[in-house]
Symmetry: D2
Subunit: 356 residues, 4 copies
């Protein structure tokens, strides 16, 4: 049970939001992968806050430093460690409110698990900030995958009740995916974008927050990766996705909807053309028996509304052992769905790379 | 990437549906757990087929033999191996149809992954039959959990479009859970049961199949188990759940629905009473920051319609490399949701035990 | 901490000497390895007792049954489980002497670790009998290695004070290794064989036992396998070797002797011939920085004298909590060195296969 | 196969001698361990070079910085990352000699393994410098063990042919161990110290090097830790010890010598006194069946002579593919045995902590 994930490639994450630094060690990378540091920085920026009113005004640069594992711009094969300094912490006195456990956060469970020794400042190791090293690792994994032609992209399927189209499961184009990764607020039907943003800004004004659903796809995967027990592609990906704070649901292909179909409609029938085997539909989201079938890998991830809200909420003072109220002030995200996208893609890249 | 799962307790699953036997090795069990073999047999029977028209007429007894790790009815602390012989295989000539890949099954992906060396008879290692050893392991894990007061139960939330009530997330009673585990076809609103069964029998008549959703709960969990990265309770459970054949979605608490709420509604507010801290609601399904908060752990699992159907489907002949049609005859389940329940509960028990 | 070893290939061992059966699950084998079952049986016989006066007169056939993972004589890629039934257990009443802890055995440590719940009959899970599944697994691993030209062989370097020659580290011939594997009592200088056997028989007469040193070599290994931290070839092999009951020392190349040389003598100097790089000497036993250099991999393993002896020894009655004497009667091995050879080779094959 | 070790506590090591920095992530530490940073620094100094003529004149301070996992001087329970900057690298042009593979080093094997992409400067990831993070981790582990009363100490048993006394296996005093840890050049018989140092200085003058044997002990271990298969205490410790560069042999208790005894002499007989069970002798070095028996855990480690010597040696130019000569100039250690002691103790602490 731990901060280390992976078998062929092992990722060791570390850091607390108000400690000296956060980072990740990536062990087991093939030697000789040429790293595009600009592309990594760009991924980091996708997650970084402070860009507009849709997210917190905290301005964290998330500048990384590579300590090891890279020589002459290529991976050496030895463990790669990247660190990010914590710099923009407010000096506010966390100790004042530290006994008021914030609803929807890990304050309460963290205190119990770590016997009150956890670093409570800014969420500590539970902070969303710790996803920055994940994005770094994912950016490296993406570059390793790109060499094999594999491309990952996603869009915001919904913000609260506002819904975008879903991907056309059986036919996702490389160009569309690439386009989505260039967008600040990626949606398929562009007209949905402003509705969604309005919803977020409205929540912000009301000192509240909203959540949504991210739909992610990976294409050009080889057929035959993954395992039946216990490491299906779905197992690996869901394992990683449920590590991301705020994720409450994961579904592949048609997901929960597939339960409403007859088998004869749910099954993806096969055909062969130019000696290539494909399915007409892709209700299984590119995975059968835990193993990729060469169709686009598609899944959806439910992101709950940001728990930090300025509205008054009922809570408990852990030390005085009495009921209390809390208003979580500070620079909070009215919605983290758009910032979660590169994180979702990052763990997807890590999960796929593990199986290749 | 493998047939071994777990860290503190390691489960090694093995078997193919038409080989000599299937089974599991459980390594790391505490010594001195008194095993109730009857209770284990009863769990095995919950999964076993052949009981009525809702499932296949194959009559597999799934009688297990314990080879090691138990002495004088108690675990020794050494690895426990249990095996189940394969006995009721039809001698039908699988080789005739083996090149026609069945839609919705792992025939195609398995062939690619294992280079045509996999045992194709009856699905081989991909067969649903391999979940029998999981149920065995889960029954052992349940007994270890029961000693700590932890109880797991579930019901069929839906079959196709017919829906039962959901659990009342914040208040699930021990008695209701126990009652559900005694039912052949567990639902909360008993009147839904016959509608659901009708739906299954109708599919059976039409040589088709249906799926559904299982809702599962574990109560009396201690607060503070699970981890932020990478081994949240949700990560461990979803990892195991997505190993079960036919699972296409997993969601905790309100799941995907939580994305439609404001943060102020989604957050579970705290109160203290008699020095015990609780939440008013349980939208997070008992988990915050990957760690249990003492509320009922609740999740839903989407089970797709059984892929084996007698209706004609389009497919490909892998050897002739040409389009073909297939009718999957034999003794198939028109629905496996009710048989999947003990499997879902089994991996839940395994997943929780790992964290305790 | 467990009965499972390996990463790419995972071995799960199970069994107690007087339970229903013992065995191993091998997970992660490449599909399509053609298994020579006779060769496996022959390996099992090398370890099996009852052949002559040098070992116990117990007659265990160690007949294995493969339950899964093999189809049409080839590995399927799914987990391979092999079991061996326990049949020749004496019905003697172990419960009489069970509270007298045998010196040199794991009786005392096992009781403490497993809280008195371990199966004490015949050593239970600590029994040397549990090495039989290891030999099975090693035989499979050897066949996988043989396909790559890798050959493993060993000889008895010493029995008590009687010493054979050592391997010529820099030049070990394939034919000599193969020859050694055909011998019942493998030594390099054949005249040493009778001296060693005499030593064993003398110990037997005196109701005592002797130990010795096994020297093992693997040749035709590719250069470049193994890792610096933490999985050097030496780490993996010593990890496995120290799992074998009775092993008390492991050394590679010159081993402890290398500490008495100057660096200028200890270093293996390089030369190139026909574009192939080699070293003149092989003091490092084929490993530098934890990684193979293409020279023969050579190591020595110290096997302590069999702890079971009929001579009276001082011990403690664990229940009465008082001093006592014990004479361990029964059919014991006056020496297990010769029977340990296939076990040493088996884990060597497993360890090497893991790195390839 | 990797730079991550451990199960309950996972250590991820990283770094190359001439990169930006080296370090380690320790994941799984109990929350609330009060860290004595001075004691850690002192351990780092024991390994640090530049103190006298017995080791290299390189002056590396090995100042560590803790990035995460510690709050208010106590462990938080989240991963602890410590880094050490590389500062004292000579700017010499490594590229000139990089194609001449140094005998006894990992230059050749590293190049093959990493396809020429490894950082060759100063040995890169193979550098002895990477043991500094191990000493850090060991110092933390030692503090965790000390809270349970467990003490680790060692002495130089031999330098080349000069031999100290061995520990009295059955009776090692806490005070003697503590005294040894305070000594710069720890030996039991103080008069041996100058002979050994003379041997080292003589080798230094002759542009050569020497090796030796370290004997290490851990006392006050609880009885009952470790496992039969595959994680015996001996397996875990030897695994870690053989990860340390230059280690070529490991033996427990009497080690190889035990093979020359009769079983009746080798067995450690039991007695009970004041209801405490002990053995008269400790030939097994505190371990039976892979599990501690409460007696001192004692083992010996063979350290080969430093491979870097200024004497001319025969080698090969990897690019020109021709025979050549090399003189390894620079600030080398004529002996690393004394500097290896804290490293041996460090991994011992890590190995023991894993089992507790």
């Amino acid at each position: 049970m731990s901060g280390v994930w992976g078998n062929k490639i092992k990722y060791s994450i570390f850091g607390e939001s108000h400690g000296n630094g956060i980072g990740i060690v990536i062990d087991g990378l093939e030697p000789g992968i040429e790293l595009d540091l600009d592309a990594i920085s760009k991924e980091m920026e996708r997650r970084a806050p402070g860009k507009n009113k849709l997210s917190t005004s905290r301005n964290e640069k998330d500048q990384f430093e590579i300590l090891s594992g890279v020589f002459q711009d290529k991976t050496t094969g030895a463990p790669l460690c990247a660190i990010i300094r914590n710099s923009n912490q407010h000096s506010k006195d966390y100790s004042k409110t530290k006994d008021l456990i914030r609803p929807g956060h890990a304050d309460y469970t963290g205190r119990i698990k770590y016997n009150d020794f956890n670093d409570y400042r800014g969420g500590g190791h539970f902070s969303g900030r710790i996803t920055a090293p994940l994005v770094f690792a994912g950016a490296v994994a993406k570059q390793a995958l790109l060499k094999k032609g594999i491309i990952i992209g996603s869009h915001i399927y919904s913000i609260k009740n506002i819904k975008d189209d879903k991907f056309d499961l059986a036919s996702i184009k490389e160009d569309s995916l690439k386009e989505l990764t260039q967008m600040d607020f990626p949606v398929i039907r562009s007209e949905k974008s402003s509705d969604m943003k309005d919803e977020i800004l409205k929540a912000r004004e009301e000192q509240d927050s909203v959540g949504g659903i991210i739909e992610c796809a990976a294409i050009n995967l080889p057929c035959g990766i993954g395992s039946p027990y216990f490491d299906s592609i779905e197992s690996s990906l869901s394992h990683l996705l449920f590590s991301i704070p705020a994720v409450k649901g994961v579904e592949f292909g048609l997901g929960f909807e597939i339960t409403e179909l007859f088998g004869s409609k749910a099954n993806d029938e096969y055909y062969i053309e130019d000696d290539v085997i494909n399915t007409y539909t892709n209700n299984n989201g590119g995975v059968l028996g835990g193993i990729t079938n060469g169709m686009p890998l598609v899944f959806r991830v439910a992101i709950k509304p940001t728990p930090s809200i300025a509205k008054s909420q009922r809570t408990v003072d852990m030390v005085k052992r009495e009921n209390a109220n809390i208003e979580v002030h500070g620079r909070h995200d009215p919605c983290i769905v758009q910032r979660a996208i590169p994180v979702v893609e990052a763990v997807t890249a890590m999960g796929i790379l593990e199986h290749i």
